[in-house]
């Protein structure tokens, strides 16, 4: 029989475990205390969250949840003390760890793994939820897209009556969630001038969520996100309450757009590139608005935002720079590739493919990524990571000469080789999967060029 332990004692024990793990150098110990607490007493997470005077807000999506949460934190953080899992530990244990660390926090702001979203929702009883998109991702771990979508529908259906919801109307599966909650805030992009000529190869939700007929797109923006309409039953993108119009992409430096909301419009300059970041900004703006932020606060918060951990980072390494963009699934990697090519196609890239659980053990997704625009400009590829050879094949069969490919499984040696091939003052493009990104940052940090993320997050 379990002996009841007071919450305070559990918290103290779990925090001590976090300090020990950090001292032992085990990667920041960001989830160790939460895992321990969850083991001691799964209900402790619920009670910790219930102590937050302003409750919790959750953000979930296949792509962009870390960036969206970081943008929302930038908007809200000036006024409120936040409990925010900024290092991307987004399972129940990560949320628990963040709650343990956040003494005196007023509002919980959590990015949540899409598969963990139902459980976190049930435990935290959030007052606000923002749902961004569903793309195919790690089928070996998450199962099929439809399975996640069904669980999201159930979780949204079980939200408290006074909880508020923001959804991306440009994603058919996600936009449909607004149907059951007429007060939901729907956001999306409305600028056919920056639409793609056709759906990308790996577009997922191409078929009507109600009748299965292929959608017709008046505009497709990122993957299957866009202005869709079913020719058979008429199901279409819901009306947008928060929209981005007049979008201009400025290479790798910025993207500007007009943020239109029910309470007015603002011109916004985001200091991160790409149309996908406009979606992240819209999601953050819609959520912050629901949490009471004024339009000026939202616009200035978005303009202050620089980059979320590992998603798009420029790191000076000696007299060269590293430009690191995370790749983790076809839709996200397509945007990373497009962003890089739009900023001037590089002739050299280091691409890293690992197959740990957090990367997805099934590496077949790299064949669904449209690497071809990158391949067109490459004179040399350094393929690295545990599945370096498989990645090399993706580029070889994508049309890159075998002689232009170097396979160097060791991340550290591949990084050094990339830097050696980069002229002084130049920038090296690095596209790693999740665990490869963590390892590469650690290597660069060990050389004193970037602070470990657990220090930044603190």
């Amino acid at each position: 029989m379990r002996v009841p332990v007071p919450l305070a004692a559990e918290i103290a024990l779990a925090r001590a475990a976090g300090r020990l793990s950090r001292l032992a150098g085990a990667g920041g110990g960001t989830t160790v205390p939460g895992k321990l607490l969850w083991k001691l007493d799964p209900g402790a997470v619920d009670r910790l969250a219930a102590r937050l005077p302003l409750g919790s807000a959750l953000i979930s999506a296949t792509n962009g949840k870390t960036t969206t949460a970081a943008m929302a934190a930038e908007i809200l953080g000036g006024r409120l003390r936040l409990a925010h899992n900024s290092s991307g530990a987004n399972l129940v244990s990560g949320v628990a760890s963040t709650l343990l660390d956040a003494r005196g926090a007023e509002l919980g702001l959590f990015e949540v793994d899409e598969a963990a979203f139902p459980e976190v929702t049930e435990r935290l009883q959030p007052r606000a939820v923002c749902l961004g998109n569903l793309f195919r991702d790690q089928l070996d771990r998450y199962g099929e897209l439809e399975y996640i979508a069904a669980r999201w529908r159930a979780a949204v259906g079980a939200l408290a009556g006074d909880a508020v919801l923001a959804v991306n109307g440009d994603d058919p599966q996600v936009g449909e969630l607004a149907h059951a909650r007429p007060d939901a805030v729907v956001f999306g992009v409305d600028d056919p001038a920056c639409a793609r000529p056709s759906l990308q190869h790996a577009a997922d939700s191409k078929y009507c969520v109600r009748c299965g007929t292929p959608y017709e797109y008046a505009a497709a923006y990122v993957g299957h996100l866009g202005d869709y309409r079913c020719p058979a039953c008429g199901h279409r993108r819901p009306a947008l309450a928060v929209a981005a119009r007049g979008i201009e992409l400025h290479g790798l430096d910025a993207v500007t757009f007009r943020l239109e909301t029910p309470v007015g419009a603002r011109e916004v300059r985001l200091n991160v590139p790409g149309l996908y970041n406009v979606y992240n900004a819209l999601a953050a703006a819609a959520l912050a608005g629901l949490l009471g932020a004024a339009l000026d606060e939202i616009a200035s918060g978005l303009e202050r935002f620089s980059a979320a951990f590992g998603r798009f980072e420029r790191i000076a390494v000696g007299d060269r720079r590293v430009l690191m963009l995370l790749i983790k699934n076809p839709a996200g990697a397509n945007e990373a590739v497009r962003t890089i090519v739009d900023g001037g196609a590089p002739s050299l890239a280091v691409v890293a493919l690992n197959d740990a659980i957090a990367d997805g053990r099934d590496v077949s997704w790299i064949w669904d990524v449209d690497f071809e625009p990158l391949i067109g400009g490459l004179a040399r590829l350094v393929a690295t990571g545990d599945r370096a050879a498989e990645l090399a094949l993706r580029f070889k069969y994508g049309g890159l000469e075998a002689e232009a490919i170097e396979v160097i499984p060791s991340l550290e040696r591949a990084l050094d080789r990339g830097l050696e091939l980069t002229p002084a003052g130049g920038e090296l493009v690095l596209l790693p999967t999740y665990t490869a990104m963590l390892a590469l940052r650690k290597i660069v940090a060990a050389r004193g060029f970037v602070r470990p993320y657990w220090e930044r997050a603190a």
Binding site: R136, L139, D140, G143, E144, L145, E146, H201, A202, K206, Y207, G212, P214, D355, R361, D362, V363, S364, W365, I366, W367, D368, D386, R387, A389, E390, A392, L393, R394, K396, Y397, G398, A402, I405, V407
Partner: protein, 249 residues
């Protein structure tokens, strides 16, 4: 020589990077001076026997699979006649299931298959997910390995006497019990292995190309060997993965 490929439902069945398999066939054909002419055969388009040297059917999620199942029934005769006349065929995962006799889903609903492969599939409660290694003997006395990844809820049972694609060395295979994986009928092969299958198993890509050419030439030709160092490395890593963390029977 031109090799005509009929790619069935690429807009519905493409879940495990099936275009990787097509890219490998196209390049390896081109490096031998052949041209791969890939034609899409989607909903409401017939399979005309004789038109294709190779048919390809990929995998889909349950929803997409159900969307094409009905249409595939209308193509059944065309597919069976094409294979009977010597066309090669590769069907992966969902495509493999749909080309059997029947598929009973998790809710007990039967989807009729087209009966090309002598087998039946019944969905189980758990998915069989992981790296796989097979040993195959497509020609008597020539044993080679295939490395891939599987992710399926279906348990596929071959009819007595049916020829599997290979013996499971590591992983689950058709049903996690029998020790067999895939099915072969003449020049037609069905398998659960994706990854995709062909990049890291170049010998099998070449076997398929030779079978497709045999549809034209009568006999599978000898293909010029290619420099497959990268392919071999990828194969070895994948095979090792299966041996260390593939499913256990």
């Amino acid at each position: 020589m031109k090799i005509v490929v009929g790619h069935l439902y690429p807009d519905y069945l493409n879940i495990y990077a099936d275009r990787g398999n097509i890219a490998v066939l196209a390049r390896r054909a081109a490096w031998r001076g052949h041209e791969l002419d890939v034609r899409t055969v989607s909903v409401a388009e017939p399979v005309r026997p004789g038109e294709y040297d190779l048919l390809y059917v990929g995998g889909g999620q349950d929803r997409e699979q159900a969307l094409v199942a009905e249409d595939l029934a209308a193509k059944a005769e065309g597919v069976r006649a094409a294979v009977a006349a010597g066309a090669a065929l590769l069907a992966v995962c969902g495509g493999y299931q749909l080309l059997g006799r029947s598929y009973r889903d998790f809710h007990g609903v039967d989807l009729p298959g087209i009966g090309l492969f002598p087998l039946e599939t019944v969905a189980g409660e758990t998915r069989m997910i992981g790296d796989v290694l097979l040993e195959c003997e497509l020609e008597p006395g020539v044993r080679r390995t295939l490395a891939g990844f599987e992710n399926h809820a279906g348990r596929t049972r071959l009819d007595p006497g049916a020829e599997p694609l290979g013996r499971v060395v590591a992983g689950f295979g058709n049903d996690g019990e029998s020790g067999w994986e895939g099915c072969r009928v003449g020049r037609a092969v069905g398998t659960y292995l994706h990854g995709p299958l062909l990049p890291r198993n170049p010998w099998f890509a070449d076997w398929l190309l030779a079978q497709a050419l045999a549809h034209r030439l009568g006999e599978p030709p000898e293909l010029t060997p290619l420099g497959d160092d990268l392919e071999q490395q990828a194969h070895e890593v994948s095979a090792r993965r299966a041996q260390t963390r593939g499913g256990r029977r």
